[in-house]
């Protein structure tokens, strides 16, 4: 009997509590109004004709989708979107990996360069675009004078997407660096010392020890950058505005132009859902590959 008085063992009859519902009310309401409702509305509007305020006018079925998929520009936009993702993903991974590998072991004063490698994280796309636009000028631009070239980085359709990707890589390296650094610093110090005693050089240590052990972080960073490259907007708007000759028009920029410049909200909604589908597929691929490529301890 005495034991039964232990409160945690008595399945007390719970009286109905309002508190948890009240606690969740603001969050759920806000998600409902500003996440779920607009999502379903996007689907709804993508199937309708809208006026210039984005209000429903008439049912359209799949007309909008057919129009978007059949437009002559569509393959180009998708091509840009994926090439951009590839460039940003590969470029960011490479540089962030190099930076994180050289910073892997703590030393006195290492915070100096750690902060420097991470700092673009704090820089927004707008000032970064402004600075790079200045540096990428064709005549007398810093980039051209360093490389000894005279490329019109942002005006030449051959280079524009690469130039915008370069700026995006610079913006993304900081956060990737931090994630990778966490991974590399998880590597047990004894392991590194053993390898050093066995005569492994820095490259061998990186390939055989650091990269395999940090594989969860590397994997995460790859998809983080691919995902955020699909959402890159500010730098495209400010550096090239989708041009020259649509060379830097990605799906999110197309969505913006359709909605704001052309007031074609139904088309913008189709673009938004294409973006959603791309992100969803990327997420599925990530989940599917995770089990095979990543080794958790």
């Amino acid at each position: 009997m005495a034991k039964d008085r232990n409160p945690s063992l008595i399945p007390r009859k719970r009286k109905f509590e309002v508190a948890p519902y009240l606690l969740m009310l603001p969050a759920i309401t806000l998600f409902g109004v500003f996440t779920f409702y607009p999502f379903f509305k996007t689907i709804f509007l993508s199937l309708s004709y809208t006026n210039k305020y984005g209000e429903f006018v008439q049912w359209a079925g799949f007309d909008n989708y057919v129009r978007v998929f059949k437009s002559t520009l569509f393959p180009k936009i998708m091509g840009n979107t994926f090439r951009f993702a590839l460039m940003v993903g590969a470029g960011t991974l490479f540089f962030a990996m190099v930076f994180a590998l050289v910073s892997a072991s703590r030393e006195r004063g290492s915070r100096v360069y750690e902060v420097m490698f991470a700092i673009p994280m704090a820089v927004a796309s707008v000032p970064a675009s402004v600075i790079f636009e200045f540096m990428m000028k064709k005549d007398g631009g810093l980039l051209n004078s360093v490389l000894g070239t005279s490329i019109a980085w942002l005006q030449d359709p051959k280079w524009a997407l690469f130039a915008v990707a370069l700026v995006t890589v610079w913006l993304h390296i900081g956060s990737s660096f931090i994630f990778l650094l966490v991974g590399f610093r998880n590597v047990p110090q004894e392991l590194v010392e053993c390898a050093t005693l066995d005569g492994a050089g820095p490259v061998k240590k990186a390939l055989r020890i650091f990269i395999p052990i940090a594989s969860p972080q590397i994997f995460f960073v790859v998809f983080l950058n691919i995902n955020s490259s699909f959402k890159a907007f500010g730098q495209i708007k400010l550096l090239t505005a989708g041009g020259p000759n649509n060379a830097t028009k990605t799906i999110i920029y197309e969505m913006y132009e359709n909605a704001i410049k052309n007031s074609r909200y139904e088309t913008a909604c189709v673009d938004a859902l294409i973006l959603f589908a791309i992100l969803l597929i990327a997420n599925r691929i990530q989940n599917a590959l995770e089990g095979r490529l990543v080794f958790y301890k």
């Binding site: 806000l30 420097m116 796309s125 000032p127 959402k231 859902l273 973006l275 990543v294």
Partner: protein, 279 residues
């Protein structure tokens, strides 16, 4: 002996200096922007590598940005946004996370799934639809309209939940026996204990709000409501377009975020990595 020591010293010093130099090269866009902000416009037009440092440093560009463009007005708007969104995020995310961790109630699983699903819908997908809504409510060019869609976030709820999970349930139960209700426990123990997690969330949100561009671009078209990023873009595109002024504006725009980043990095890293990567 001495030369051995010197050699050893050098073997750590040289790589260190190389790393710092790579860091300087990497951050050079920011550094160049700062340096060039002090140059008179004429000096900028002929700039090459050889003329790195300003020959005749001037504060004129900053004066222009503050006195003529009134960038501080845009900065104030951004700070109002940061403050209101961060306060709401802290309160609403803590509340929701606390309910999920410390209460058992009907429909909890369903509500949790709703939160998980909300994370699956990226903000950029619904930005147009939200804009239509804010427009219909006549909330464009208001602080409320700018803040509304961001007052709560899945990431904040996850972060707070992760912290609350580390508080032993027995502690709450013991407090209950001593006459402290579940809500009292939240207020008296859970919230004060969670201050480091809240700091992580606050700094993460600060950088996100400060650097936000797409959403304000949609809902703001009046000068008095521009955020710092909109003001910066306006400065770049407008008739004010002298390169020196633009770079001074960019410095003005970057400095607050960089300061917060450097001092808050520890918290920011914790916030970023919490729950992001398994293993």
């Amino acid at each position: 002996m001495n030369s051995m020591r010197l050699k050893k010293r050098l073997s750590t010093l040289v790589p260190y200096i190389i790393k710092v130099l790579v860091g300087v090269l990497f951050t050079s866009p920011i550094l160049i922007c700062f340096l060039y902000s002090f140059k008179p416009n004429g000096e900028l037009l002929v700039s090459t590598l050889s003329t790195f440092l300003p020959k005749a440093p001037t504060l004129e560009n900053f004066w222009y940005v503050v006195a003529k463009v009134r960038m501080q007005k845009y900065l104030t708007n951004t700070f109002i946004q940061c403050f209101s969104i961060i306060v709401c995020q802290l309160v609403f995310c803590s509340m929701a996370a606390y309910a999920i961790v410390f209460y058992r109630f009907k429909g909890k699983k369903f509500l949790w799934i709703l939160i998980l699903m909300s994370v699956m819908i990226p903000g950029d997908v619904i930005v147009i639809s939200n804009y239509i809504q804010i427009q219909r409510w006549h909330l464009t060019n208001t602080h409320i309209g700018m803040a509304l869609p961001y007052l709560v976030g899945g990431m904040g709820i996850f972060l707070m939940r992760q912290f609350y999970l580390t508080i032993p349930k027995e502690l709450a139960e013991a407090a209950e026996i001593d006459g402290c209700s579940r809500l009292g426990f939240m207020w008296r123990f859970a919230v004060p204990l969670s201050i480091p997690s809240m700091a992580s969330l606050a700094i993460y949100e600060f950088i996100a709000i400060y650097n936000r561009y797409f959403w304000p671009l949609l809902v703001v078209d009046k000068d008095r409501m521009r955020t710092i990023q909109l003001g910066m873009a306006y400065l770049e595109g407008g008739e004010n377009g002298k390169v020196a002024y633009i770079l001074a504006g960019a410095s003005f725009c970057v400095i607050p975020a960089v300061i917060v980043f450097i001092f808050g990095q520890k918290f920011l890293v914790k916030g970023m990595t919490a729950g992001a990567v398994k293993g």
